[in-house]
């Protein structure tokens, strides 16, 4: 719990100092914000080569062993703390590395999670992840390294790694007002599901959720 609080405080400070207080408020205080749940069959992924990256970059699975073996350099402290927290919860993570520098990371929940719990997003998004399926969440790219399709390369690379591990389908979501996230999901050809509207006030969980019956895109 202490580690979680520390992570959240550091994240909030970094959001304000590296971005603005507006960024922090946008993520923690919203009314009727529209989320677009998405799904993708891992047999229908775009080839890794569609989003080429320099030869010295690689997408790797983040494991406790990897963290003890290599001294990874995170762009911001909160991402390192999140990595520790997510691994503790049994989430599976992938990072785009250049040497030991983390340029971005993405996380997913599967049936490996402790106590068979699901990721809390699955409930309000109306997603029902089955065994062999994963829910992807919290993708981050170092702001100083954005551009050149890095986000698509990271997400597509992670999905290919999940496919190699035997997973067949992935779910996720993006906010409809988050143009970069929207673009990455549409570029990778995720299928969009019925939209969900949600409200949240600061540290509360989602206060209200309503569902539209038909996808708009």
């Amino acid at each position: 719990m202490l580690q979680y609080c520390k992570m959240r405080v550091v994240q909030a400070i970094e959001m304000v100092t590296l971005g603005s207080i507006k960024n922090l408020l946008k993520e923690t205080w919203y009314l009727n914000r529209e989320a677009v749940p998405v799904e993708i069959e891992l047999s229908r992924l775009r080839p890794v080569d569609d989003f080429p990256r320099p030869a010295d970059e690689e997408v790797v699975e983040l494991t406790p062993e990897l963290l003890s073996r290599r001294e990874l350099a995170y762009p911001v402290k909160s991402r390192y703390l999140k990595t520790l927290n997510y691994l503790k919860h049994g989430y599976r993570g992938y990072a785009l590395l250049k040497g030991n520098a983390v340029k971005g990371d993405i996380w997913c929940a599967d049936s490996r999670m402790k106590d068979g719990r699901k990721h809390p997003d699955e409930t309000w998004l109306g997603i029902r992840c089955q065994p062999g399926e994963v829910y992807t969440f919290d993708m981050y790219v170092d702001p100083g390294k954005r551009g050149g399709n890095i986000a698509a390369a990271l997400q597509n690379g992670a999905l290919h790694e999940l496919k190699k591990r035997g997973f067949t389908k992935a779910y996720g979501f993006f906010w409809s007002d988050n143009v970069p996230a929207l673009w990455v999901h549409r570029t990778l050809r995720w299928h969009e599901l019925s939209r969900v509207r949600a409200s949240r006030l600061l540290l509360s969980r989602k206060l209200s959720v309503s569902c539209k019956t038909t996808p708009e895109a």
Partner: protein
Amino acid sequence: MTDFTETIRNFIETEMVSQSQGITLSPSDSLIEKGIIDSLGVQILIAYLEKQFGFHIMDTEIVPENFETICSVVDFINLKLNAKS
């Protein structure tokens, strides 16, 4: 139907192409394959189009087909302007 090809080409070449090592674009070149339009590039282009042409782009319109080439961006602009008038 107005031809905004040069307007769009100028904007992309002056404001966005530095990311793509100063390539010269033809109207049918794939902006996506050349790496000009990615998650960051599309945000820059959308902000420009909304300001320059005075229309709002809905999230459902932000699809690769509308931003694939300079030609498709110009077609999209005309579609939006026709709908507005």
